[in-house]
């Protein structure tokens, strides 16, 4: 299943950009990351499969707790501890990263795959000057001298548009603004010219204007270096127009995966639709009622049977509570895990049924009510 799905998507992305390169740069197959904790087994990532070709950008979108960060950290092998159980495969340039000994991973980090984290204050070392932090990778991996490293640091800081780079290399992180710190993190990530960059909510802690600058910078660097990028975010506005393909995650699983334009124009999963609807937009008049999603994401230890989104889904029918929908790919390479996909006649019927019976989650969307706890066992009729 995993493999055939991968092929379907590959065909869709192939169009203009990747026709020449058949072998994906990163091929993730049925990746699972579970944590054993006191309360039980937490399934943070539960069977994720995707391909990423070089030079392409993949967006991973989901709410807090959907597993998007754990997924990227699993591929990077950054989840440490005896209670972490990772299975599946993450082939990067022909090698399975999950099977590599840690000593070999240190050569992959920075040199082949790099990461930009959410909070630039905590991801930089507060007591080490910027210049040394930027060149740490270069000195380790490429063995350049101190003098060469300094020149390279200035060059890197200039490439991420830091004004007065000569001065900045002797500054400490606290002397810089949040946006400048994030630029430094990007410079560090780019230092060894990686082939793949993970950007995990790189702009969530920043202002809109700075966010815009940082995203433009990432896009520009990616284009110049022909680097692949994974952009992890909770904001669909951030990934629109900046990614080739988008994965929407919910409760550790992929619920929808398609080319960026299809995600927005042919939204097929109710969760993606709900996310899109709940974003306030500047072209709507003031006081437009937002379509909130009822309830909260499920507990990843005691998952409901059936579809994980069913308790919150405005379209859920009896079947959704009993049987988990598989991720199915249509002829356009658009993959969705839903029995009543948005835009189909069945979906419309399900909505009308639920509205008629006054189902809580449906009413929350229709009227914008707050629905906090959605009973798990309720199907369409009751409540």
């Amino acid at each position: 299943m995993g493999l055939s799905l991968g092929k379907g998507i590959r065909a869709s992305v192939t169009d203009a950009m990747t026709s020449a390169r058949d072998e994906p740069l990163l091929a993730v197959r049925d990746l699972r990351t579970h944590f054993s904790i006191n309360a039980g087994l937490l399934r943070a990532v539960d069977g994720v499969t995707f391909d990423l070709h070089s030079g392409q950008t993949l967006g991973i979108v989901g709410e807090s707790g959907s597993g998007k960060t754990v997924l990227s950290r699993s591929i990077m092998r950054l989840n440490l501890g005896n209670n972490v159980h990772t299975s599946g495969e993450a082939r990067f340039a022909g090698r399975d990263l999950l099977g590599l000994p840690m000593s070999e991973m240190t050569d992959v980090w920075g040199q082949e795959i790099a990461m930009v984290f959410q909070d630039p204050m905590t991801s930089l070392n507060p007591v080490v000057k910027i210049g040394r932090q930027v060149t740490e990778h270069v000195r380790k991996h490429l063995g350049v001298s101190k003098k060469e490293a300094r020149a390279l640091a200035v060059q890197l800081l200039e490439s991420v548009r830091i004004p007065e780079a000569e001065v900045t290399i002797s500054a400490y992180p606290h002397e810089l603004s949040g946006g400048m710190r994030q630029r430094v993190s990007i410079a560090i990530a780019l230092a060894c010219s990686p082939k793949l960059l993970f950007a995990d909510e790189p702009t969530t802690a920043l202002d809109v204007t700075v966010q815009h600058q940082i995203l433009n910078l990432l896009g520009m660097q990616q284009r110049e270096r022909d680097m692949a990028m994974v952009l992890v975010t909770h904001d669909l506005g951030v990934v629109a127009g900046r990614t080739d393909e988008i994965i929407v995650m919910y409760a550790g699983k992929i619920v929808e995966q398609a080319r960026t334009d299809q995600i927005f124009q042919k939204t097929s999963h109710p969760y993606t639709e709900a996310l899109l609807r709940s974003i306030p937009k500047t072209d709507q008049p003031s006081h437009t009622r937002l379509a909130a999603i009822a309830g909260r994401p499920p507990n990843l230890i005691t998952m409901p049977t059936g579809c994980a989104f069913s308790p919150r889904c405005p379209y859920a029918q009896d079947r959704c509570f009993e049987e988990e929908p598989p991720l199915q790919t249509n002829q356009d390479g658009h993959a969705t895990a839903c029995w009543y996909q948005v835009g189909t006649a069945e979906n419309k019927e399900a909505w009308d049924n639920n509205l008629a019976s006054g189902r809580l989650s449906t009413m929350a969307v229709a009227k914008g009510q707050i629905v906090d706890e959605v009973p798990l066992d309720l199907t369409t009729g009751a409540s």
């Binding site: 506005g237 629109a240 927005f264 306030p280 909130a292 707050i370």
Partner: protein, 340 residues
């Protein structure tokens, strides 16, 4: 302003809060001061939602906090229902503040982790009464219910047992329990997921209608501010740039800074053409040593010599739409330039 002036203020008899020439300065080492707010004048009508927008460090939170004297402004006046809050004695001010409540950005850290939810929400009542315990708990229950939290379950739990969105609703219940007139919301949804953000925004609209509230809503996300506000004030480095009815501000921004903010706001639409070749290098200048003239000129692509020498004042560009700029993006009626 990026400039000064009060042309945007309305008739004092029509407004609930009127702040004039607010200045907030924080002394730092070597006799220098941080000019957090430099002469901001604002007014809010009864039942209106005023949105305050700007980047981090532009003084939007400081302005809103100085309205409730937290801390009192260095100079300037805040009149609430005809009383000047800056001149009140501590005891009177405490009484006046029961009418003016606040909600903070981080919902989890704004609730005491060691106290039960029932006690957190009852705290204001224990200070101001009613002092009857039963009366208190029935008011607390009613308030929790109004924000969509089940009081029977929540009363004896502590904040860590709730999600961020629920904690924010509990903070809102605490703010509302004294039946205030005005709520100052300091980035109440910035730390929340979009789906939860939608719930909170909808709820604030409902509560505003049910309790006849007046809101001052601070945020850096323009789409959020537009959704909730009737009127929007754009701030930059301690000054006001533009004040307008909210739909007008988005349809026809007059200040170059508003244009920059609008252009940076992410749009959930892949067909919007993004020019990724442009990376602006300038950061917000330091409020310790702000630029002369118009404070936005260092980042403004329309700036001229005049902008460096002369500070623009607020002037009307159309009805209830005011801008402080020498080179506004919309045409200005000839006689509209009114100096403060």
């Amino acid at each position: 302003m990026a400039g000064g002036g009060k042309a945007h203020l309305r008739d004092p008899d029509d407004v609930l809060i009127r702040a004039e020439d607010l200045v907030v300065e924080f002394p730092i080492s070597q006799g220098r001061v941080v000019n957090a707010v430099s002469g901001v004048s604002l007014d809010v009508k009864q039942g209106e939602t005023l949105g305050l927008v700007g980047e981090s460090g532009c003084g939007k939170s400081t302005t809103a906090k100085s309205l409730i004297q937290l801390p009192p402004p260095t100079s300037g006046t805040v009149s609430y229902l005809g009383t000047d809050l800056t001149s009140l004695e501590n005891k009177e001010l405490r009484k006046a503040r029961t009418d003016l409540q606040m909600i903070f950005q981080d919902p989890i850290s704004s609730l005491n982790p060691r106290r039960k939810i029932g006690d957190v929400v009852a705290e204001p009542l224990r200070v101001w009464g009613p002092h009857d315990r039963e009366e208190q708990s029935s008011q607390v229950d009613a308030m929790l219910e109004a924000v969509g939290i089940d009081p029977a379950i929540a009363r004896d739990k502590r904040p860590h047992e709730f999600s961020g969105g629920q904690c924010q609703r509990i903070s809102i219940a605490r703010a509302l329990v004294l039946n205030p007139q005005v709520i100052i919301c300091d980035e109440p949804v910035s730390a929340l997921d979009v789906s939860v953000q939608a719930q909170i925004l909808n709820m604030l609209e409902d509560l505003k209608a049910d309790y006849g509230l007046t809101l001052v809503f601070i945020a850096h996300d323009l789409a959020v501010v537009k959704n909730i506000s009737d009127r929007i004030a754009v701030m930059y480095l301690g000054k006001l740039c533009e004040v307008s009815e909210s739909n007008v501000l988005y349809d026809a921004p007059a200040h170059p800074y508003t244009e920059l903010l609008l252009g940076s706001s992410p749009v959930p639409d892949p067909t919007v053409n993004l020019d990724i070749t442009l990376v602006e290098e300038e950061d917000l200048p330091s409020p310790i040593d702000p630029p002369s003239g118009c404070r936005f000129r260092t980042r403004c692509r329309y700036a001229t010599d005049r902008c460096a020498q002369e500070e623009p004042v607020m002037r009307e560009v159309s009805e209830d739409h005011h801008v402080a700029c020498h080179h506004p993006l919309v045409s200005v009626p000839e006689m509209a330039e009114v100096s403060a």
